[in-house]
Amino acid sequence: MSEVALRQVVKTYEQTPAVRGIDLDIADKEFIVLVGPSGCGKSTTLRMIAGLEEATSGEIWIGGDLVNDVPPKDRDIAMVFQNYALYPHMTVYENMSFGLRLKKFAKAEIKRRVENAARILDITELLDRKPKQLSGGQRQRVAMGRAIVRDPKVFLFDEPLSNLDAKLRVQMRTEIKRVHQKVMTTTVYVTHDQVEAMTLADRVVVMNGGRIDQIGTPHELYHTPRTKFVAGFIGSPAMNFLACRLVEAAGGGLSVLLSDQLSFAVPAARTARYRPYAGKELILGLRPEHITEARPYANGADVQDFTATLDVVEPMGMETMVYFTVNGAEVCGRVAPEAAAGPGEPMRLAADIGHMHLIDPATELVL
């Protein structure tokens, strides 16, 4: 069984805390992604699981064993580095078989494993080449091959796609997912790219400032973020945040007041939840995909129309991004290309208020 568990793990460098106490349980065969901005502690956490950094305090468990004092070579893990870290003087075959040769595996067994991994990753013709003869994508595959061959309890990925160009990144993302489905090893994957996180993960761990903000499936993180940070981090383009005031509306409901000209009625289902905050200054969160051109919606959707003068219009082909200002803040919406007005022109938009979030500016928690 290859679960990974972190209990109250803390890492402090001299005076600076990098990881401030995280608890995490990763199930066997799960693909979990640690995501967050630079400096949030995700790489440090990964390296502590690997044993390349020592935890200042807390417990790290791999497969049921406490591994805090176990050196990396005895933890039965494999790691894929951002810079591939392939041994330049060895061929691809030798790179992949290095770990097995150190453990004195039989030659036949080594050959079997390497060729198997090479087949999975489609690098069989490259086995005799040296790393400097390979492209970035090929090197990344060799690095993965080196990990697969070891058949470890856990795979660790440290931002493996950051050095690849955009197109290759998309390709390799699919590769990684395919390999995981085939090999089914517990995987801990670190990235700063939330798209990678959303597409690859069974569960996503959003980290910020050395702490975990939220753990959940991509769906949960998208639809029910717990903090402002998670809400703004997940989804691209980012969620719009608008300062607003929650006021009592006529007829016993609540209304979100954005400016003198613009306000939205809170969906009836949520009035009970939000009532305690009536009268307060809050932040309204609404994703760009939930601000569209005025059009018919499905039944039951809570949509309210309004007019805004567009500042900037960005045609993306499939859709057009429109930017307008509300009370000094810039708001982004996604409209159908044929419906988009020009910059400086007013346009009739629809806000899918059913998907709104209210955030308490003091705690930065989503209400």
Binding site: I77, L102, K132
Partner: protein, 318 residues
């Protein structure tokens, strides 16, 4: 001319052909002088003069000298060389030069490698201090530090013998016994040259990416295996270049032997450089001295070829 063409566009027809020719010739010379390759060549000229006049010419002149008789009145072909081949001292010098160079370089490389690793293990702040201390032998001019060693080896007052005596070991005839004399000379050379290896290897160690060691850790390598499979292969080129370089320099070394033993006792510490000096300058037989000195050439040449290959390989790798 009733043309409508504006005067600026009309081709200037020369009044006389010779004037046009003159107008075209001067710019050509100036152009040549401003051409990049010309300027570059002139900038290199002093270098070429130094190398040509003070290195290449003397080297060739040495070959010419080596074929002359002692009075330098006529050429005697390989006479000097065949004479040398018959002398026992010559073969002793060959053997001693080889022993000296190879032994010293091996120990210098080993000490350099070990100390480089030791220093690299320290926290970054301390490394600079230790590196500074350990490089001192290299910074002191060799002839002057050799004076210090000479004093330490003094037959009557040797401070080293005093130390040995404090441990109950008998005095060592550092410079009077031929075999101990060889040891003493090599010891001084190793003391002087090891820091150079330390510096080179330390720089090379630092150029190995840390992530390779991490990958090796995860692959299951212990410290020794990391050294064999990551450090040594990555340092292979630098080690080769430094060793070959040091072989050349050690092989041609003059200062130590000249100051400490003058080649003695009984010519058993003479190396090519000192014997050439003794024969050529002191005894006044320049051609013979030149012949001896020339024997260094083929060995240096072979080493130089290997160095060049190593440097070129390093440029191509990674």
């Amino acid at each position: 001319m009733a043309d409508a063409t504006p005067s600026s566009l009309a081709p200037t027809t020369p009044a006389r052909p010779s004037q046009a020719h003159a107008r075209r010739r001067r710019p050509a010379l100036k152009r040549w002088m401003q051409r990049r390759s010309t300027i570059a060549f002139f900038m290199c000229l002093p270098l070429l003069m130094v190398i040509g006049g003070l290195v290449v010419y003397p080297a060739l002149y040495a070959i010419d000298l080596a074929t002359m008789n002692k009075a330098m009145t006529k050429h005697i072909g390989f006479g000097n060389f065949s004479f040398l081949f018959t002398r026992d001292t010559f073969w002793m010098v060959v053997r001693q030069s080889a022993i000296f160079a190879i032994t010293a370089v091996v120990f210098k490389a080993l000490i350099g490698l070990v100390t480089a690793h030791l220093v690299n293990n320290l926290p970054a702040k301390g490394q600079r201090k230790w590196r500074g201390m350990l490089l001192v032998p290299w910074v002191m001019p060799l002839s002057l530090s050799t004076l210090g060693w000479w004093w330490m080896y003094d037959p009557t007052y040797s401070a080293l013998n005093w130390l040995l005596g404090a441990f109950g070991i008998g005095a060592v005839p550092w410079l009077s016994d031929p075999y101990w004399a060889r040891f003493s000379v090599i010891l001084d050379n190793v003391w002087y040259g090891a820091p150079f290896f330390l510096i080179m290897y330390l720089a090379a160690l630092k150029s190995v990416p840390e992530q390779l060691y991490e990958a090796a850790s995860i692959d299951g390598a212990n410290a020794w295996q990391k050294f064999i499979h990551v450090t040594l292969p990555m340092m292979r080129n630098i080690i080769a270049i430094t060793v070959l370089f040091s072989l050349i320099v050690t092989f041609a070394n003059f200062d130590i032997v000249w100051i400490m033993t003058q080649g003695g006792p009984r010519d058993m510490t003479h190396i090519f450089a000192t014997w050439a000096f003794k024969l050529g300058i002191q005894s006044g037989d320049i051609p013979l001295g030149a012949s001896v000195a020339l024997f260094m050439f083929p060995i240096l040449g072979v080493a130089a070829i290997f160095i060049l290959r190593g440097v070129a390989k390093r440029g191509r790798e990674i």
